[in-house]
């Protein structure tokens, strides 16, 4: 009896409805890697189907979404294997954190004050409607060191929770938000130089 109810709980947790709640996050993850709406949609569909079929093997230790992202990564890797395109998608899977420590000093002077601090931006909301702005955003994101870009992407673009990002990347909690902070400093400066204040020149990260 006890066994039966245990099985029931698992089946309930991995019902189609429960799985479907994770669809938006999985789709964003797939889209950012595959850069194709239909391929991303297919990969997510296959992932949810596989997850549903594999329900019984899900142990719940790592959290459902982490498990789903794991399946999705396999589906995406399968895709690259099948396709003729040479893409180093596996880059995405590896992260180490050794060079995150060095660059905060570029933004602040030794007394802790800003080294040419943030100026005010004129009507940032209007930028959201401009194609060119999004191109600049892409450039700024791609200019981040790869590991930093990945952490920021998983948290802010895909929408994983902080602890899920830490699981994915092997970062400690403290390293996670320090990395997020540095990504913000860099993105902010890059957007300021390249979009909001194009007369401000000569900084190091843009």
């Amino acid at each position: 009896m006890l066994l039966n109810s245990g099985t029931l709980v698992i089946e309930e947790r991995l019902s189609e409805q429960v799985l479907a709640e994770h669809r938006p996050v999985l789709f964003r993850y797939a889209l950012l890697q595959l850069r194709d709406n239909e391929l991303a949609d297919d990969a997510v569909q296959e992932t949810l189907l596989a997850a549903w079929q594999l329900s019984a093997t899900f142990e719940g230790k790592a959290g459902l979404r982490t498990w789903l992202v794991g399946i999705l990564k396999h589906k995406i890797a399968d895709h690259w294997r099948r396709s003729t395109r040479e893409v180093v998608a596996s880059d995405f899977d590896y992260i180490d954190i050794d060079d995150v420590e060095r660059d905060e000093d570029d933004f602040f002077m030794s007394n802790g004050h800003w080294n040419s601090g943030p100026s005010s931006w004129n009507d940032p909301e209007a930028a959201l409607n401009q194609q060119e702005f999004w191109a600049i955003y892409e450039t700024c994101h791609n200019n981040l060191p790869p590991k930093m870009a990945k952490v920021f992407m998983l948290r802010e673009l895909v929408g994983l929770e902080a602890d899920e990002v830490c699981l994915e990347t092997g970062l400690s909690d403290a390293n996670f938000w320090v990395t997020m902070h540095r990504a913000r400093l860099r993105l902010r400066e890059c957007l300021e130089i390249r979009w909001f204040n194009t007369t401000k020149k000569g900084k190091h990260h843009a």
Binding site: L31, R35, E104, F108, W177, L187, L191
Partner: protein
């Protein structure tokens, strides 16, 4: 007394929901007087918003590319 470098760290922690009440109070007080950190705070929030919307923009653009080819 916390300087701008410390305050921006606290602002980031706040965005990741990891700051406590004392830290949020310190940030609130500091940004009243410091326009650089105030700009950093509003602009960091804006960058989050941009990042959240990026995939929508990408999906839209990829959809258009496909229709045009």
């Amino acid at each position: 007394m916390r300087d701008c470098r410390d305050i921006t760290i606290l602002i980031s922690k706040g965005l990741d929901k990891e700051s406590n009440l004392t830290e949020r109070f310190a940030v609130g007080l500091h940004v009243l007087l410091c326009s650089h950190c105030r700009n950093f705070q509003t602009q960091s929030k804006f960058i989050s918003k941009v990042a959240h919307r990026y995939t929508e923009y990408l999906e839209d653009r990829l959809g258009k590319d496909r229709n045009e080819t």
